[in-house]
Symmetry: C2
Subunit: 381 residues, 2 copies
């Protein structure tokens, strides 16, 4: 892998884009509270977000660098980012868990009557207690809180070349692990053991951690794609699917592979062939100017309208799934730098499903694969 | 490990306790939106929450089983829980991503003028877009949304014997992995390789996944405890700390171990001895009727007031960190079934810290260790 993190210019460019949109929208500041949004503007990368105890705040003013308003436990790490203004309190503090410090910071960078943008749209949430949110709003009654008009979504959706490199590196790690699945999965091995061993393969191939692994196995297809593994042993005739989000330097891959335990039935072989053809159709349709919906329809033209997943792929980057969604209702116009998963599914029978997934990046002249696309034939275990 | 999941009686007992408190608080329903809260009342266990795209809702009425209002992709898994009323929509839906279905469900179980409880206090958040939240409130203008008065917090804080068994099993997995650290860490091995190999050891010892690993290494102590690993090789004189949250059947452990690369300096050896003594003091103080603050003071009596972590331990269970906090301001009265981490820290010099952590459960007659407590001597690598 290339060096960890990004040069300061990367964060400056991100904030410049956001601040231009903020000016257009009449926002004097952005308030960010989630792991990905905070990291996007600061570079603050830690697994400590797994602890829900403490709130973390970053304020992006109309110009200049972000201001971090964070628990003191995060100060040494934040001090190593490009952020220069790091304000801390010792958290948890039951009398005032950051409310005063955040309100004072916002009052400093936002003039009276000014508007503070907060992400409020699809796929967002506010990572702070509702009581804290009410208290902050009450302290700033002469400022206005408003939705961010999806500007974080729009900005994060287009990846820089350096971000694409990170995602490609995460994909390469998982691709090497998938190539080694025959080492750990065969008839008789319990599915939960396959899950454990596959995660270990991802680590062995260089993943920092394995944030996501789902999968399933069943005769002639599987029932759903989000359940944890049981200890049922793989049996001849099973189709095994593993779908992983391995993380490298804070960026995800998200793709899957299907395997057959012993020879595949003609029905399963044909379903896999269709899924691969649908993915190829999605890839061919992916170019600047096409919409997310166009990619859905390109894949649906091969496999039909799909299962209850509701979509045939999505954005990818600092999170396992990001906007846009490849669904008929998503009119997002694709642009160079957008990273997408192509994830068609077919229902072979009630309760018997197959899903395939690859990752791509949209470029000036079409799309490039970030994962090594599989051929139509299933790998036999 | 014993069987996965819990018998239906476990969920019925949880909901009975919640519903008794709801009646006392005048709440006609609870609205739950986060992974842990949803799982607590339903048993719905999946890593799919890693995707922030879709909102998930569970409504607990004044009596009876919870009602799930969820994306269709989760229907097969939710159907295998004790929940009988599963209402789904195909998500993402840009025109109505669950709002109508949730509002109709709440209107059905809450009479006009009735109150709907939502967790709003410390360590909580609302996992849905603020726009969705506003729309749901607007649809239900003749019902009242209110804080839950921390009833979820109080209820979840006391674990059932079956929950304690799950946490103990997760602790045992990580304890076996920690015992094998000398296999993977020695002078010259880069810290990020140690992190990858330690996670693989946790998986090899039976973890379903490794949701959390932090740590650090440095001469005579480390700078902070939440940073990701660098590729700096371990050097003679380094103190290495690994702190893991391994997950088994949806329950966490959270504890650490310190190691010395070559002989420890007298200063480091003394700091470790103090940390272990502080942990023992916390253990001795842990009994029904003592407060969270009492445990803080018992440990602070040995190591002083501690570093910027702000606390000397916390609750543990379905999440890496849960209430209460072992801080002077936390007057939570300990009760049998509370699972806690004891996590004292000492600052050896500016930027040089050591932290130690064990897990315990409060019982009728004191406390029991869930982790095998280490002795005063550091393990030498």
């Amino acid at each position: 892998m290339s060096a960890r993190g990004f040069p300061e210019a990367e964060y400056r460019a991100r904030c410049d884009r956001l601040q231009t949109e903020m000016a257009d929208a009449g926002l004097s500041a952005l308030l960010l509270t989630t792991e990905a949004d905070v990291r996007y503007v600061t570079g603050f990368l830690t697994r400590f977000w797994e602890s829900p105890t403490r709130p973390w705040f970053v304020v992006l003013p109309a110009e200049g660098r972000p201001v971090a308003v964070i628990p003191a436990i995060g100060a040494p790490l934040m001090a190593r980012t490009w952020v220069r203004d790091v304000r801390t309190w010792v958290s948890p503090d039951y009398s005032d868990d950051g409310v005063s410090l955040l309100a004072a910071t916002l009052a400093e960078v936002v003039p009276a009557g000014g508007a503070i943008g907060v992400p409020t749209g699809g796929e967002t949430h506010l990572r702070m207690p509702l009581d804290t949110w009410a208290a902050v709003q009450q302290r700033l009654s002469d400022r206005r809180f408003a939705g961010d008009g999806d500007l974080m979504r729009r900005t994060r959706m287009v990846k820089s070349p350096a971000e694409v490199d990170k995602i490609a590196a995460a994909c390469a790690v998982a691709a090497r692990a998938f190539a080694r699945v025959p080492e750990v999965a065969r008839e008789g091995v319990p599915l939960d053991a396959v899950f454990r061993r596959f995660q270990a393969l991802c680590l062995d191939e260089g993943a920092d951690w394995v944030a996501y692994l789902a999968g399933a196995a069943g005769p002639g297809g599987y029932g759903d794609v989000i359940s944890p593994a049981t200890d049922a042993p793989l049996a001849a005739g099973d189709v095994l699917m593993l779908d992983t989000g391995a993380v490298l330097d804070g960026y995800f891959c998200d793709f899957d592979r299907n395997f057959t335990v012993g020879p595949a039935t003609p029905e399963v072989a044909e379903a896999h062939r269709l899924l691969v053809a649908a993915t190829a159709a999605g890839f061919a349709a992916a170019r600047p100017g096409a919409t997310a919906a166009d990619l859905f329809h390109a894949m649906a033209g091969v496999v039909g309208a799909g299962a209850d997943a509701g979509r045939f792929g999505h954005g990818l980057g600092m999170q396992l799934t990001e906007p846009p969604s490849l669904i008929p209702a998503d009119d997002t116009v694709l642009a160079p730098g957008m990273v997408l998963t192509l994830e068609p599914s077919v229902t072979l029978a009630p309760g018997r499903l197959m899903v395939h997934e690859e990752d791509i990046v949209v470029t000036e002249d079409g799309a490039h694969w970030l994962t090594p696309p599989v051929g139509p034939s299933l790998t036999t275990l």
